[in-house]
Amino acid sequence: MFIEKFDPLKDDMIQILDPSGKIVDTANMPALSEAKMIKMYQTMRESRIIDEKTLQYQRQGRMLTYAPNLGQEATQVGSASALRQTDWVAPSFRELGVWLTKGAPLDKIFLYWFGNEEGMKMSEDIRILPVSVPIASQLQHATGLAYAAKYRKLDDVAVGYVGDGGTSQGDFHEALNFAAVNALPNVFIIQNNQFAISTRRALQTKAPNLAAKALAYGMPGVIVDGNDIFAVYAVVSEAVERARRGEGPTLIECYTYRMGAHTTSDDPTVYREEMEVDPWRGKDPIDRMYKYLVAEGLWSEEQEDAFVRETADRVKQTFETVEKSGFTPLEDIFDYVYAERTPILEAQYQSRKAFYEKEGK
């Protein structure tokens, strides 16, 4: 449909649902059940609520550094919705929508951002690697996951997420190249949210767009409106099916915008004007799908209000439980360095423990 015929050097962008909520490309509109559409919408909305509430908790001093995905919900939920449960994800650190779509429990997600590694101990069937902070490094893992799937004759696909800034790292290059050389079942998704912290996309590369980088690897590269959940879903689905059929990897640039701060430690007013952000408000991925669903009679204001209320309550309760979780137990920092504590770790554990006991802690 899209992938084989897309020429990234032409700098086009695939769009199905326009900002006013209209389907502008009916031919390519994916065949989604009503239930799935509603689920996708609800996940985006849930993600937005979580982001907003977490930012609020952070301002209240109740949360540590947090990286919201405001504005990128369609990219994340749309792409993850195209995956099967056994497909793998190698995420970066800004993929709340992906975690939610794949069914990661919110208490775990909160616990992680609350500064406890236990939060990344999901159930195995989530199949998302833990948050990866060193930019672009996780794409290399995606290739290994895919190699193993292929070698083990499982038809699972491995998806790697990276930012626009991340395309500058050497690891981006090596991972895509390795995947292409070995025709691995990978899909690489660039969340081009136009910024790497304060650094603009134009400062990262002179390439006309990020999808064009696929040409360096003999891989198809596609640009999709990252705020259009149907387009993201359609393109990623096709890439995933190609990968599953053994036709190799695809690079997908989701063109979107980071509506919020980089993280709660960042102050975007230092480097960008409100004026610049404004036009993107009109392209909001959630509003867009809302309009569509309401027009189709699949969703209503009442349902919306109820869903928002319930979700907000649930998020609040979940956070409040996590907030009470306290400190990491001493054992935890020693028990996962290796499968077994080494003698030196055992000795250090005993020494710290004895000290705490003596100090009455």
Binding site: Y112, G115, G165, Q204, T328, D332, V337, Q348, F355
Partner: protein, 325 residues
């Protein structure tokens, strides 16, 4: 005199140096327009132009590797690695080139550059934002490794690093970036690289520390001195080349030695100091030279970080054990 905190002192060092020497170029991720995530380079792009202070691409190997080329071709790059935990993509350039270009070309090409990086924990940050990697750099021939612990030293050491003819790894204790202010001269001055500082003299025990641990050790020393012990506290300032003489002279006097650091224990910087003490003051030792360090785990996320790093009470307890051995 200015009154500045540590990061302001660094900004001032860069500013004063750039004003005096147009070959100094400052760059790194987010370093240009916004002045760096910690604002160490705040105002420099506006003042010196985008050619002299700019946002690099998001690629540490490029940051250091291009700096090597600039340094060879007459510039003085001062580059920023956003957090020391992100220096690994650049390590190939640092270890196999920056550190070796002079030797490889027998002095024909040299790499006078400064590689700045905030290091250490205690700021409740995400993974990879709290590393203390001085031992790795100090084990590498051809690099100098500097860690200031006060605003005054930060400026003086930075100016010395900029004027140094060799590559300097400049590790900044981010926990104390804004912890306190100090009088700092307005103009140019240097604190020599390779010289430790006796923060306070003492007779019963020599304690060496650096960077953000220094203040914790100072607190511990105060507590113990109130108990009647006399402690010589040394701020190492330069990890490599290390000031053996100051340490050995001190231990020959006190007969007891401890080093306190935030880096992981095993194969860490403390081991080198203990070896130096053995080599230079063995017959003077009245107690085993001791290292008081973080544990050998991965640096924990914020909710577990206090288990990792030595606490003031922990330092007091361990120093007391050395004093009473």
């Amino acid at each position: 005199m200015l009154v500045l905190n540590l990061i302001e002192a660094l900004t001032n060092a860069l500013d004063v140096s750039m004003a005096a020497d147009s070959s100094i170029i400052v760059y790194g991720e987010d370093v240009g327009f916004e002045g760096g995530v910690f604002r160490a380079t705040k105002g420099l792009q506006a003042k010196y132009g985008v050619d002299r202070c700019f946002d690099s691409i998001l690629a540490e190997s490029s940051i250091v590797g291009s700096g090597i080329g600039m340094a060879i071709n007459g510039l003085k790059p001062v580059v920023e690695i956003q957090f020391s935990g992100f220096v690994f993509p650049a390590i190939n350039q640092i270890v196999t080139h920056a550190a070796r270009m002079r030797n490889r070309s027998r002095g024909l090409y040299t790499v006078p550059m400064v590689i700045r990086m905030p290091y250490g924990g205690g700021v409740r940050a995400l993974e990879h934002h709290s590393e203390s990697l001085e031992a790795i750099f100090a084990h590498t021939a051809g690099l100098k490794v500097v860690i200031p612990s006060t605003p005054y030293d930060a400026k003086g050491l930075m100016m010395a690093a900029i004027n140094d003819p060799d590559p300097v790894i400049f590790m900044e204790p981010k926990r104390i970036y804004r912890a306190f202010k100090q009088e700092v001269p307005e103009g140019i001055y240097e604190i020599p690289i390779g010289k430790a500082k006796i923060v306070k003299p003492g007779d019963d025990l020599t304690v060496v520390a650096w960077g953000s641990m220094l203040r914790d050790v100072q607190k511990a020393v105060e507590i113990l001195e109130k108990e009647g012990h006399s402690i010589e506290l040394i701020d190492l300032r330069t990890i490599s080349p290390i000031d053996r003489e100051t340490i050995i002279t001190s231990v020959q006097k006190t007969g007891r030695f401890a080093v306190v650091h935030e880096a992981a224990r095993s194969f860490g910087p403390g081991a080198e100091l203990i070896s130096i003490v053995n080599e230079g003051a063995f017959l003077h030792l009245e107690a085993p030279p001791t290292r008081i360090t973080s544990v050998d785990t991965i640096v924990p996320l914020p909710k577990g970080e206090h288990h990792y790093v030595p606490s003031v009470e922990g330092i007091v307890a361990e120093l007391r054990a050395v004093l009473t051995f």
